[in-house]
């Protein structure tokens, strides 16, 4: 095998967190370009069809992961459980935090139109959302954001990988339909 690929394999084997390529380059005393090249070799070596372990890009770095079809065996061995499912309210709140972070509880509640106190503390307990200091506004409210665990559980390299918010906008036709309904309502209220 490629000499540098072997050394990277050693780093990835021992590291318990995703390793950013520049960090690996510094450890091996080579350039990031060389690391990327060697990683490509490693990726071929560790394709899911050949090994029970694969290489994944997640949360800002590269890390070993169990091949998906082997996960159940590992769970039986270790007793590790799948994370609890997220309710629609939790997912919605998480979406607001992920896109608007750092965000205060009040801002999240404003977007959703309902209090998000429980949802935020529940997300915080699950490690999907974390406190990131306090806003420089009256009352110094806590700011919430997402951390590495969020990226891992959603298979994201970084927050930049989230599709732009505009892609999730309503279609013009849907907006028109809602407007028509609201205006009809307004008409009724006036009458």
């Amino acid at each position: 095998m490629h000499a540098l690929a072997r050394r990277l394999e050693a780093l990835l084997f021992i590291s318990s967190r995703p390793l950013p390529p520049p960090e690996m380059a510094a450890a091996c005393g080579c350039s990031t370009g060389e690391v990327d090249e060697a990683l490509a070799v490693l990726r071929v070596e560790y394709t899911a069809e050949r090994r029970g372990v694969t290489l994944r890009d997640v949360a800002g770095g590269v890390t070993f992961a169990v091949a998906d079809d082997c996960a159940e065996d590992v769970r039986r061995l270790t007793g590790a459980e799948r994370p609890d499912d997220l309710t629609p309210a939790l997912l919605e709140t998480l979406a607001v935090v992920a896109y608007l972070q750092p965000v205060t509880r009040a801002e999240a509640a404003e977007v959703r139109g309902v209090s998000s106190e429980w949802a935020l503390s529940s997300l915080e307990q699950r490690g999907l959302v974390e406190q990131q200091g306090r806003a420089d506004t009256p009352g110094a409210p806590i700011l919430y954001g997402t951390g590495a665990r969020f990226l891992k559980l959603f298979g994201l390299r970084s927050l930049q990988e989230l599709p732009p918010l505009e892609e999730f906008s309503l279609q013009a036709a849907e907006v028109d339909e809602i407007r028509a309904r609201l205006l009809a309502n307004a008409e009724r209220r006036r009458a």
């Binding site: 997220l86 979406a95 891992k152 959603f154 906008s169 209220r189």
Partner: protein
């Protein structure tokens, strides 16, 4: 909840005669909770004043009833202060004509639906990725919680184990903690000197950097103001405070001292 407390606790006997309400205090609270009286219209300070008068007149002090009164008044004040914060939004929507309100609502719905759609996309990612197992380092077995070893101990072991816990621990040495370095008297003297020399100064110019010291400086300003030695002015909200000496004969001030 304040509302539950109002139901559970004994009634507060207080007859009120307010602009908007004439009757017992309990009834007022009930009506406010049922939204039949607008709390805006109620001057809580009047209620408190009446209650204090009643206490003074009766000469008796019923701790339970008074506590209950304090709880209810606190609840009223909380409701009122919440209204202060929400006023802008509520009033705004009320004042809008229905079409404009519909537009506003539409704006909010459009924005909200973006995130609702994001939640859908996150759900798909979650289903795909959340079960994945990444390389991790387990907690070393030595640190895991393990069942306590079974075993019998002789009875005297219990008092022997508890005795050290009951002994008073030595008082911690606090000699390294310095006393507060700011004093109101000193600060007052300093501000009076500046006021005497300059006739006028601004808070920002004389305030120290430390938060606590600033607070003392501010307190000293209030003293100057209430003593009639200086006038405080603020050009705008949150702006700097300008302190101006009140012109009065020096002799009088000296005579007063």
């Amino acid at each position: 909840m304040p509302a539950d407390a109002a139901v559970a606790a004994p009634p507060v006997a207080l007859e009120l005669d307010l602009d908007v309400f004439d009757g017992p205090f309990d009834l007022l609270v009930t009506l406010i909770l049922k939204d039949e009286i607008d709390i805006w219209e109620v001057r809580v300070s009047r209620i408190i004043a009446e209650y204090v008068l009643k206490l003074a007149d009766s000469g008796e002090f019923d701790l339970d009833a008074t506590s209950q009164f304090v709880v209810l008044v606190a609840a009223l004040l909380e409701m009122k202060s919440r209204l202060l914060l929400e006023e802008d939004v509520e009033e705004e929507l009320e004042d809008l004509d229905p079409d404009e309100a519909a537009e506003r609502l539409l704006e909010r719905l459009v924005r909200y639906s973006q995130f609702k759609n994001v939640a859908g996309a996150l759900r798909r990612r979650w289903d795909e990725h959340s079960a994945r197992l990444y390389r991790s380092v387990p907690v070393p077995p030595a640190l895991l919680r393990r069942p306590a070893p079974a075993g019998a101990l002789p009875a005297p072991a219990l008092p022997a184990a508890l005795a050290p816990l009951l002994r008073e621990p030595p008082v911690p040495d606090t000699s390294h903690l310095a006393d507060l370095a700011v004093s109101l008297v000193k600060e007052l003297r300093r501000l009076r000197l500046i006021l005497g020399d300059e006739g006028e100064f601004t808070f920002a110019a004389v305030a120290p950097d430390d938060r606590l010291e600033r607070a003392v400086t501010f307190f000293a300003l209030l003293e100057l103001h209430s003593g009639g030695e200086a006038v405080l002015r603020q050009k705008r909200h949150l702006g700097d405070i300008v302190v101006t000496r009140v012109a009065r004969p020096v002799q009088v001030a000296a005579a007063a001292v």
